[in-house]
Amino acid sequence: MQPSQYFSGMSRRNLLSLIGLTAGTAAMYQAMTSLGLAVESGYKGPVKLEGDPKGASVLILGAGLAGMTAALELRQAGYKVKILEYNNRSGGRNWTLRGGDTYTELGGATQKCDFDEGLYINPGPWRIPYHHNGLLAYCRRLGVTLEPFQQLNHNAFLHSSKAFGGKPQRVRDIKIDFQGHVSELLAKVAHTGKLEGGVTKEDQEMLVEALRSWGALDKDYAYTKSIANSEFRGFAKDPGGGLGAAPVPSDPIALTDILSSGLWGSLANFALYEFQTTMFQPVGGIDMIGKAFTKEVGDLITYNAKVSKIHQDDKGVTVTYEDVQKPGTMAEEKADWCICTIPLTILSQIEINVGAPMQAAIEAVPYASSVKVGLQFKRRFWEQDELIFGGVSYTDLPITQISYPSTSFNTNGKGVLLGAYTWNGPHSYEFTSMAPEERVKRAVEYGTMIHPQYKDEFENGISMAWHRSPFTLGCAGDWTEEARKEHYDNLCQIDGRIVLAGEHASYIPAWMEGAILSSLDAITRLHQRVVAG
């Protein structure tokens, strides 16, 4: 709840809507989860499953992070564990596309990824907040090497097609000039003694000094063009060496231009708890996490298994599934207990005999719509031409954002950008409705408005529209507060011999941490029940 204090005077709802309008709904979504709800990940250290399960068996449905976490811990605790997985690979949404990979989406379109060796795109999760302790603990334990993920890059762009003549602005200029102008205004008010509320004279004096420091104000508390000011916002000509090396100060952007541009709205993308430094990514692709889990539990997985029925009685659980490589070939798997991580979009279509409250919960959660596009370019022009090393540019164009690779900085050779990343909102549906190659084409067209180099440097691309994903039918559980109140506990309760897990059974949906914490909580409660007899 801490962050909301910084936005006093603006209702939480208004803040969220402003973020939604200007920064894209992804930011709003993240803001909702971080402003309103528990902000700690809740990881309590390695799970301790003490007591003998006496040979009890568990069938896990889904080999994503939730399923594989459960498998790893339960086998270690002495259970007989098996996993059924719909895909022909493990990892679920923890997934990376590299050159040579193919992907067939719902509707039948198949894309082949033509990226060069070493280049990749993470179509699903891609970054890890430093406070996602559960995920970080497993990365440490399983030997997944991490590197910093740049979220805030002062030299990336904020772009509005309707402001500054469509010319992208540096994050730094908007952030520092906005801060400076606001400081100047507030200092003026403080000087006149018109600040309302419990601000003492001493506090006012301290406040104006703080504003001078924080807002880069001059001795008269004005935000003006100067060398001192340029120490914050950068120079028109940087200081150099030798003759003619004196720095030239830069011109601040006028407050009215910043305000009317709306670009200030994107600054929340760098301020929110979930996006604060340090963020991480695995070296080589996000699927290094899934691969590390698979090394531990891969021998337990039956692939290409499409679950059609989950039946429990007082003796155990029977799951019926089809071998998708041999359509019509049905098989059964039995166990004492079942941990089901199947996304609710799919589980709500599967015959399962749970009680009415859990069934209602399974049917109560719509899934977010999200699209990503990966684009390969002949050279890393964003670094070489624009000095953008990692980070994210935000735009009001349908692509919403462009993210620059947080790895292999300052190298020659090719690079892959995340050329579009939408979250809910009309553009997600509109992109999804297009053929995959059309999504790539549009991402290139729009991106060219921010980086004209696209035109000459673009080579190939691949797109992921999550509502066309055969294994999830959507991106992630899109809970409302009302739905949570009514259904969340019912979704998470153990129903007879069945318990659900996954990001959808967490307060941080769409994050890998949500999948892991949900899984740890589910197996802890299940184990208590088993050892209690």
């Binding site: 209702s11 709802r13 208004n14 969220l16 809507s17 939604g20 309008l21 200007t22 709904t25 709003m28 909702m32 719909y86 719902l106 509707g107 509005s160 309707k162 402001a163 009317s260 709306g262 499409k306 679950v307 199947i342 996304p343 609710l344 979009t345 799919i346 709500s348 279509q349 049917e363 959660v365 719509p366 899934y367 977010a368 719509s369 349908p398 809910n424 909102g425 009309p426 553009h427 549906y429 509109e430 999804t432 409705s433 297009m434 059309e438 549009r442 529209a465 509502h467 066309r468 994903s469 055969p470 294994f471 999830t472 039918l473 959507g474 899109d478 409302t480 507060e481 009302e482 739905a483």
Partner: protein, 137 residues
Amino acid sequence: MTQQSKLLTGQITAAVIFATFQASAALADSAGATFSDGDNFSEKTGQELYANVCQACHMDQGQGAVGAGKYPALAKNENLESGGYPVYVILHGQKGMPPVGSMMSDDQVAAVVNYVRTNFGNDYKDPVTAEDVAGAR
């Protein structure tokens, strides 16, 4: 009232600020693919709305799709017999389906429902109206 609709209501303040650069028309091209401007769908006709919203899941001929789960076909779908049913589903969502009607006006919801109910092998001659939609929100 859902959290989502609360958020939309809360955008009134912001909408005033941004009114100066909220163009009304969608960016269209010859292929019929469009991008909306803002947080609501800009497409007007039933055909445009279908091709840029519903088609994401229900596919270009209303044929639906099958993976680990399925998107039901809207083609020759007898559940469309009562116009109130698709209106309700679009406004409130159903199971994993999001309530996309929250990003459409009453006219838009009526237009896309009438389009689906008279295409893809469906031939239901009683159109729904914007008033029907307003009453079902």
